[in-house]
């Protein structure tokens, strides 16, 4: 273990620079964040991830955000274990009817101010699963959606841009 730790000390960090954000989207989102929310949140967001029916592809890429290359926590964004500690619900997957109640209860358990981010095509409109008897379509059918991050699945860069946009918007509003 010593050798590995020593190498980590002498090698350059693998962590990459933050991606550039889209100014238009940022301004639009910032306009929707109220002053009270900004004051409470500062430059930090706690995220609860909820899978409402995903194929687990989105989960893999959300996991990647925590690896040393993307290192999400350096931006003040971190994943929490309970909706009661969360500012943001990051929801993946189509809205499986078997998950509707659990998603709604998770939303209710999240204290305000709170945002819901729909991650991936399925969460936006049901994706390839739209039209099934067991799927209601996108997650907007159960909870209000504030931001969408497209992709199937979105790459970690796309996820990072989406989350940083939300963070900037709350800080700037």
């Amino acid at each position: 273990m010593r050798r590995l730790l020593f190498q980590t000390l002498i090698n350059r960090p693998v962590t990459e620079k933050a991606p550039r954000l889209d100014d238009g989207e940022l301004a639009e989102l910032a306009a929707r964040v109220d002053v009270a929310a900004r004051r409470r949140l500062g430059r930090s967001l706690s995220i609860r991830e909820v899978d409402s029916g995903s194929c687990n592809g989105c989960e893999l890429e959300i996991h990647a955000l925590n690896n040393p290359i993307y290192d999400l926590e350096r931006f003040g964004i971190h994943f929490v274990a309970s909706p009661r500690h969360a500012d943001v619900l990051l929801v993946t997957g189509p809205l499986a009817l078997n998950m509707r109640e659990a998603l709604q209860r998770t939303y209710v358990a999240t204290p305000g101010p709170k945002w819901v981010v729909a991650v991936g095509e399925c969460a936006i409109n049901g994706g390839v699963f739209a039209g099934s008897y067991a799927v209601a379509g996108g997650i907007a059918d159960a909870v209000p959606v504030d931001l969408v991050i497209q992709g199937c699945p979105p790459s970690p860069e796309q996820l990072l841009i989406g989350l940083l946009t939300l963070l900037e918007a709350t800080a700037r509003a």
Binding site: M1, R3, L4, L5, V14, E49, V50, D51, S52, G53, S54, C55, N56, G57, C58, E59, L60, E61, I62, H63, A64, N66, N67, P68, I69, F79, A81, S82, P83, G93, P94, A96, L97, N98, M99, R100, E101, A102, L103, T106, G127, V128, F129, G131, S132, Y133, A134, V135, C152, P153, S155
Partner: protein
């Protein structure tokens, strides 16, 4: 007959799985039940899959004595059939799912509770010929565990980590788990209904999204089943590219799992390092194939993308990087007693259960079941490649970590061989035209493909217009989830995450 052979017992049984259209053996209830008796008593036989359509149940059987397979069908006009699960417990959840979706009852089933149906769909038996209106279901009754000092811990469906939803009901005595019961089905998406009368391209896109972590393996299984039904063979270059993607998927997932298991023992250093290696693999996949998880790159008839010289270079580079750095991580794992203290002797799966449930992948191979579809029921191009199938016998979390470590080594070797062979491959053709070979009649095909998690089974029926009429895909998780319940018993609650991660079953692949 405990020693009978499948090829003697079932019509059309044979050991050329997935080559050419499928012939099913249509049997009567008496023959169906006698097969269940043999399945329960003969250690060589295992249940590969059990599925249904509105008026018929099917099961796929494997005889490991000669690796022969057979698909047996029982028409059930009375909407009832003799339960396989009554004699062979691995079928119980499959039969509960069949009842929920198709309304076909397994007679004398030991567990008549619903499984996928949580009472949230607009209809009951949504895939039956005549679905009925949804009546509210009674609350789900969990199995009981009674005794002095027992308490229950209910977890999920929304979990604490970034994982898929499912409910776990623990009954514990202090720290020790007396019983774990899983309640799954939360991410049921009605996938089999989407496959009814669907074009092949859309069918393949759905197959690639049954379980995102196994998108390549599932897509290959689906494509091979379609090709078998239509009598088409994918071009050689496509076969190499499929295997290349399949092995990269295996390496990426095993690296992620090894790190995640150590992370669940709070050993984050290994998680960080293996996370970096996993990321490198996914980036090489994006350069080579245009998608980090390689979704939609395997299509019926072949592949949808060729790999360029920059892709080959990226793959060679990442393979050499892992070859250089992975041994250090393995050494770190092996030299850290505090970590081994958590993984050795934890969550032991017996060889008997692994064999009975035909547990695939690292779950089976860590408990002495050496089945690997790439070797046992070989398919192109693995019959032309050199690799070992590592098998260990102690069946604990540590063994499941070690199987992954050894398989990463094997897959690195496979990727090297495939990249070398690709350079020699003269043919540039990527996809055989499945549309041109359209049969005038309805035809069916099956395939068994080794994903990172185990063998994925696929069955398709193609109609006379070349469209997908029906399809069933059985993820390896179906036979691994019940075993997780068994291995957790007697462990402490805090070791459940380790046991669970070492199994890493798919929720979505199971719930469909």
């Amino acid at each position: 007959m405990p020693d009978s052979r499948l090829i003697d017992a079932v019509e059309f049984a044979g050991n050329r799985l997935g080559e050419g259209p499928l012939h099913r053996a249509v049997v009567d209830p008496i023959a169906w039940e006698s097969l269940a008796v043999t399945l329960a008593g003969n250690r060589n036989w295992s249940l590969l899959a059990q599925w249904a359509e509105p008026d018929t149940v099917h099961m796929a059987l494997l005889d490991s004595a000669d690796q022969s397979t057979a698909v047996v069908s029982l028409p059930c006009p009375s909407r009832r059939y003799p339960s396989i699960g009554r004699l062979h417990p691995p079928a119980i959840r499959l039969e509960r799912a069949i009842r929920d979706l198709y309304g076909l009852e397994s007679e004398h089933s030991p567990d008549p509770r619903p499984w996928l149906d949580h009472g949230a769909w607009p209809q009951r038996h949504p895939l039956a010929a005549m679905p009925t209106g949804q009546a509210s279901l009674p609350p789900y009754s969990f199995l009981t565990a009674e005794g002095h000092g027992l308490h229950q811990i209910a977890v999920g469906p929304v979990h604490a980590g970034i994982i898929e939803p499912g409910h776990f009901r623990f009954t514990a005595n202090g720290e020790t788990v007396v019983r774990l019961e899983e309640r799954l089905g939360y991410v049921h998406k009605g996938i089999e209904s989407l496959w009814c009368d669907c074009d092949l391209e859309r069918g393949a896109r759905i197959a690639g999204r049954i379980s995102g972590d196994s998108t390549v393996a599932t897509s290959i299984a689906f494509a091979r089943a379609v090709e078998a039904a239509l009598g088409v063979v994918a071009p050689p270059r496509a076969q190499w590219l499929r295997a290349l993607m399949g092995e990269l998927e295996r390496i990426a997932n095993h690296l992620g799992d090894i790190g995640a298991i150590c992370n669940d023992a709070s050993f984050t250093l290994l998680h960080a390092h293996s996370g970096v290696l996993r990321e490198r693999v996914l980036r090489a996949c994006r350069i080579a194939f245009g998608h980090r998880l390689m979704m939609d790159k395997v299509v019926p008839g072949g592949v949808s993308v060729d790999v360029g010289s920059d892709g080959i270079e990226a793959i060679r580079y990442v393979i050499e990087e892992i070859t250089r750095r992975f041994p250090q991580l393995v050494e770190l794992y092996d030299d850290t007693p505090s970590l081994q203290d958590r993984t050795v002797g934890t969550g032991v799966l017996s060889a008997e259960l692994a064999s009975q449930y035909a547990a695939g992948g690292f779950v089976g191979r860590a408990s002495g079941r050496g089945f690997d579809a790439r070797r046992a029921t070989p398919y192109a191009p693995y019959d032309a490649l050199t690799f070992d199938v590592p098998v260990r016998t102690l069946g604990d979390v540590n063994e499941r970590v070690w199987i992954r470590i050894l398989e990463v080594d094997q897959s690195l070797g496979l990727v090297r061989q495939i990249v070398d062979r690709l350079a020699l491959e003269q043919g540039r053709e990527l996809v055989a035209d499945v549309a041109l070979r359209r049969n005038a009649t309805v035809s069916e095909g099956i395939a068994l493909v080794e994903g990172f998690r185990g063998d994925v089974f696929a069955w398709v029926r193609i109609d006379d217009r070349g469209r997908l009429a029906r399809c069933h895909v059985r993820d390896p998780s179906w036979f691994q989830w019940p075993l997780l319940e068994a291995v957790v018993e007697g462990n402490i609650v805090a070791d459940f995450p380790l046991c669970n991660k070492s199994f890493n079953c798919s929720y979505s692949g199971h719930d469909l």
